[in-house]
């Protein structure tokens, strides 16, 4: 275990009767990481989050939080965890101030530091204006923020957020995402979601979980590389012969699309520049040229169903 590892999960299993919800999941989280946990519904994301936060005991495996074993010394380990479940755990009958004060006490923040902790958490989550209102009267977005404030009030080493933007409107989603990025600067963050753009927007590391297994683990940059283009789509006013396109360096396959455009799959560097030169010289009347990127969706589907992401299969060979 490296010294700056905040979370080490090793060989986590969780069974519900015969059903294996989490199957041999292992990973590490370092300081400054925002780790995105992706997966379709029922993939085992929430079970993993609950195990990391001590809400669920793993059937097998080990969880080390900031050097403390969660299962052997739960009280010490839980001081280092802030957890926001899918449903924000708020008491509707309390005001925001009362609730956060209760959370601060629960997390054993000493009396003299409590007021400061409360002010900081409210400030970070933009709750200052609603501090004296009943949580039950707040909108869903504000309630979610109260949930996040609760998770960071004791400045834990690790913040675990389970689907933090579910049910929010686009503006609120943007605010929560920027809050998460901000928090990522001095906490380690684990974030679960089934929304792919969310990972692109907030995370620097990505893990994809499917049927309880980790099927992909990489940096966000690594994911980006996987998404980079391996094909161009072009439209010509005067389409050239396919053989002339195939003659371009790196081009592996050319296919005519229904709408009169052509898809040019390639390996290695993009042949766009050569294509444009040839088009001008040959009078092909190039009208449109776009580099196709794999969307995260395609990669997601490829990993979770075992299918290749559509047309790119030929070029990847």
């Amino acid at each position: 275990m490296s010294s700056n590892s905040l979370v080490t999960a090793a060989g986590l299993y969780r069974y519900y009767n015969q059903h294996c919800a989490v199957n041999d999941v292992s990973f590490e989280l370092s300081r400054g990481d925002v780790l995105g946990f992706l997966g379709p519904n029922g993939a085992g994301k929430s079970s993993t989050m609950q195990m990391l936060s001590g809400n669920l005991s793993p059937s097998a495996g080990e969880i080390i939080i900031n050097g403390i074993d969660l299962l052997d010394r739960p009280k010490d380990a839980k001081r280092e965890i802030g957890y926001l479940a899918e449903q924000p755990p708020v008491y509707r009958e309390l005001t925001v101030n009362e609730y956060l004060d209760y959370c601060a006490r629960l997390n054993r923040i000493p009396r003299e530091r409590r007021a400061q902790a409360l002010a900081t958490a409210k400030d970070r989550c933009g709750l200052a204006d609603v501090a004296t209102r009943l949580i039950g009267n707040l909108s869903k977005g504000y309630r979610q923020r109260v949930g996040i404030a609760q998770a960071i009030i004791h400045t834990p080493a690790v913040v675990i957020l389970d689907e933090p933007t579910v049910g929010l409107d686009p503006l609120q989603i943007r605010e929560i995402r920027s809050l998460i990025r901000e928090l990522g600067e001095d906490h380690g963050i684990i974030l679960s979601t089934h929304i792919l753009p969310e990972v692109q927007a907030t995370c620097n590391r990505v893990q994809i979980i499917h049927q309880g297994r980790l099927v992909f683990a990489d940096t966000a940059a690594g994911l980006d590389a996987r998404m980079s283009a391996t094909s161009l789509v072009a439209r010509f006013g005067n389409p050239p012969d396919v053989s002339r396109l195939l003659a371009l360096p790196g081009v592996a396959e050319v296919a005519a699309l229904d709408d009169g455009r052509m898809r040019i799959d390639f390996t290695g560097d993009s042949p766009a520049e050569a294509l444009v030169e040839q088009a001008v010289a040959g009078g092909w009347r190039l009208q449109e040229l776009t580099a196709e990127r794999h969307t995260l969706e395609q990669i997601f589907i490829e990993l979770t169903t075992g299918d290749a992401p559509g047309h790119a299969s030929g070029a990847a060979a």
Binding site: Y15, G54, P74, K75, P89, Y91, E93, Y102, L106, N107
Partner: protein
């Protein structure tokens, strides 16, 4: 930490109109019973004055009042305890407690103390009634204390049972019904059974242990019975809460 949870529990109880309604209704019913007993006492008093060693005001007013209070509280305990843990499950707030650095024992004891706090308030208001008699007459304080101790212990046992039932289900109403059923069963259990069984059933009965204390007889066996019930059911609740996280 236990007190933090207890304070929140008590606060949430009093933030709902239910607790206030229960306090008001209970107080009204018991006051009515109290006045009825006073009436009886006033009619009997001239004749009792002539008898040597006749029952005093503590026997004729206070003991029946506390006995009736026992039944009234048996009816209302499920309403107070039903939401204690069920609501935490239902509102998903239990995850707040589970991911905070507190043990299951602290959670359960906190919840339990919160409920006891409510019952303490109820008991204090109830006690004011017999104490008001001091203005006009002498009162056997020993008997009153024994009776109140009995009622307090019995309420604490009720609360422990109610808390356990609340830990079993997400539905407060189910918790209330099962609590009520179990309490009533323990209340009347000695009415059933053959002669041999009566001994065991009699020991299990909440009522039979209360009767002794009402008469002013402090029997450590009665006190031990209530303490056992409290320990048993809080223990069950802790185990139950632990089990919600385990693989099954």
């Amino acid at each position: 930490m236990i007190f933090t949870i207890a304070a929140r529990e008590l606060r949430s109880l009093f933030l709902s109109p239910l607790a206030w309604a229960i306090l008001a209704v209970t107080q009204f019913i018991l006051a009515w019973l109290f006045l009825a007993q006073i009436d009886t006492w006033i009619t009997l008093q001239p004749r009792l004055a002539a008898i040597e060693g006749a029952p005093g005001v503590a026997d004729i007013v206070v003991a029946p009042l506390l006995a009736n209070a026992g039944i009234v509280l048996l009816l209302i305990t499920p309403l107070i305890t039903m939401r204690s843990l069920s609501d935490e499950y239902r509102g998903h707030t239990i995850s707040l407690l589970f991911s905070a650095p507190v043990s299951m024992t602290e959670i359960v004891l906190g919840k339990y103390l919160g409920i006891l706090g409510f019952f303490l308030a109820l008991l204090l208001m109830l006690t004011l009634m017999p104490l008001s008699l001091l203005a006009g007459t002498d009162l056997d304080m020993g008997k009153l204390a024994a009776g109140l101790l009995g009622l307090g212990l019995m309420l604490a046992a009720f609360a422990a049972i109610g808390l356990y039932m609340s830990s079993l289900t997400e539905q407060p109403v189910v918790a209330a019904v099962t609590t009520f059923g179990l309490l009533l069963l323990l209340w009347i259990i000695d009415e059933a059974g053959t002669a041999q069984a009566t001994g065991v059933m009699g020991y299990l009965s909440m009522l039979s242990h209360y009767k002794g204390l009402l008469k002013g007889v402090f029997n450590s066996m009665d006190v031990a019975y209530y303490l056992l019930v409290i320990a048993l059911f809080t223990g069950f609740t802790i185990r139950r809460l632990d089990a919600t996280r385990l693989p099954h």
